[in-house]
Chain length 327, copies 2
């Protein structure tokens, strides 16, 4: 038996396990939307991290599979409900559940999906359940807090960098962090190592989200085609916009605010003008520096783990992947 | 220390415990709706049953308090989300959350409320958690199934008595049944006794719902004022209507269907005419007989419990209360 799996192998393993979940059940209007959502795929990053973290401490990763499924199904539940709240028509190139069925069915099948997520934890031993349940539970609540802050920020005039980082930490990072921590616990890690992996996940998660903000404006257009600048067009308060507003002088700030709130301006012109302000304020470098800082903090946590270096390679390459992605 | 508590004492205990739950937290738009919902009160029947069932097997009911809170908060979560789906403007004489705040906040605070419900189970010992978690989880999913069937039935032409009983079992009874079972487990009951209490709850829950259907039409108007016949006015497929449709001859069936679908007829006239059809078909007696049957089955389960009769009194009087209520 091979002792260390690659992320790709773990992603495949999870996809196989998800395919085994029996969702051909009645009432069909409750279960079909769950199956539809899970069948749509996605990168299975969180469950792969659960298994990878377990694998650092144990050759046998079977214990961690229910945990991985719980995190993946919970994540997909949040997408289902977020899509209602954000009024999103598409997800992974398919109609969202509230569009394909209706909003009531999307609410209720989302609820059922969250319960299904918890349900996987049933397969754990009493002691493992007692350790992992509070990690899962606390994180689930934090993800809701993050989504609420995100919605609140849409109508908040001044969002500080600190507020923003707190929001993305709750909305995105804690679930990645908890996936790693719960995986580590399943593999028998001690508390210190489990917490180090949590910190690794927290910082990588933040770096990932800031990279998202950055790529929306500064993606390599030669490689990936025309950039969208979608966040600029919709006036989303990203790390870039928040920092530009903090750094701008009065005149530039006024111009920036006018641009962002202008619904009539040509979209490409809007993107070009806001990007030009970002450039003049050094927002690209500032964001890249912040991402580097977060990446370094993440790596430091990995370095402090009480295991041989070879076992850290999967997570190191995962961190590299996050840093190097261009889209 | 008094060894047996009354239902009223247990309801009070639960209200005190709910008041202790810290919900003055940020983001306020997430937590205030939860506090608002729980502060609105309600009869606290499910958590009182958790504690009452525990109390049959143990003088000490402290173990069961987290379980009672989990069931009560879960029940209130279902009301919050059901009110969105049913487009209900009021609940317990207060505006519903989706009206007082908005629909997105109602969806998300409902999600958080379900997570809070699970969270109380954190306080259980590893062994108790391992026993109670699957009971809670299975039941939570069944409640969603019941709500989906209820929504499906709105647009289903022919709902049979069997289908209807299955729906109300899932939507209402299983949560009452599981409250009793989980309470019994918390008190150290053996599996057989816990299952007998589950069956007691299942049948009492069905009797309760059929009583609801009956009282909508046949409530004692002298005592409680004018009856509403609200189910008749809205054309809800109740136990009474479903059985009337099954029993009616072709001509009466046609008349009944026309009456139910008639949106223009005077409401009082509609109620009077449908009630008159119910009377001619003996629907009141049929429903009363069914309720009696269910009550008897429930009492038989109680009689089979392996504990002295004195300890069953609280649940016997609870069952009596259900049977004798007039509204």
């Amino acid at each position: 038996m091979k002792s260390m799996f690659t992320i790709e192998q773990l992603q495949q393993k999870i996809s196989d396990e998800i395919n085994k979940v029996d969702l051909v059940k009645e009432p069909a209007n409750l279960y079909q939307p769950i199956k539809y959502t899970l069948d749509a795929g996605g990168k299975r990053i969180r469950p792969a991290l659960v298994l990878a973290a377990c694998n650092i401490f144990s050759k046998d990763i079977e214990n961690a599979i229910p945990v991985a499924l719980a995190f993946e199904v919970f994540h997909n539940f949040t997408l289902l409900h977020d899509d209602i709240m954000d009024n999103s028509p598409k997800r992974r190139n398919k109609e969202t559940v509230h569009v394909k069925w209706n909003e009531n069915i999307a609410i209720l099948s989302g609820d059922a999906m969250m319960i299904k997520a918890y349900g996987f934890l049933n397969d754990l031993t009493a002691n493992l359940l007692k350790e992992i349940f509070p990690v899962f539970n606390k994180t689930a609540l934090e993800v809701c807090e993050g989504q609420q802050y995100d919605m609140d920020f849409e109508t908040t005039e001044n969002v500080s960098e600190k507020d923003y980082l707190k929001m993305i930490k709750l909305k995105t990072s804690v679930l990645i962090a908890a996936s790693l921590k719960a995986g580590a616990i399943s593999g028998g890690a001690n508390e210190k190592d489990a917490d180090l992996l949590y910190d690794f996940g927290l910082n990588i998660g933040l770096a990932f989200q800031l990279q998202d903000d950055l790529l929306d404006v500064y993606a390599d257009t030669n490689v990936f085609g025309k950039q969208t600048g979608n966040d600029i067009i919709t006036g989303k308060k990203t790390f870039l916009l928040i920092n530009a507003m903090e750094r701008a002088d009065d005149e530039t700030l006024k111009e920036l605010k006018n641009l962002i709130s202008d619904q009539k301006i040509d979209k490409q012109e809007k993107v070009a003008k806001v990007t030009s302000i970002y450039n003049s304020l050094g927002i690209k470098e500032l964001t890249e520096n912040k991402i580097s800082q977060l990446h370094n903090k993440a790596i430091n946590s990995l370095n402090s783990l009480s295991v041989e270096n070879g076992k850290k390679e999967v997570l190191l390459s995962f961190a590299d992947l996050i840093m190097k992605r261009k889209k």
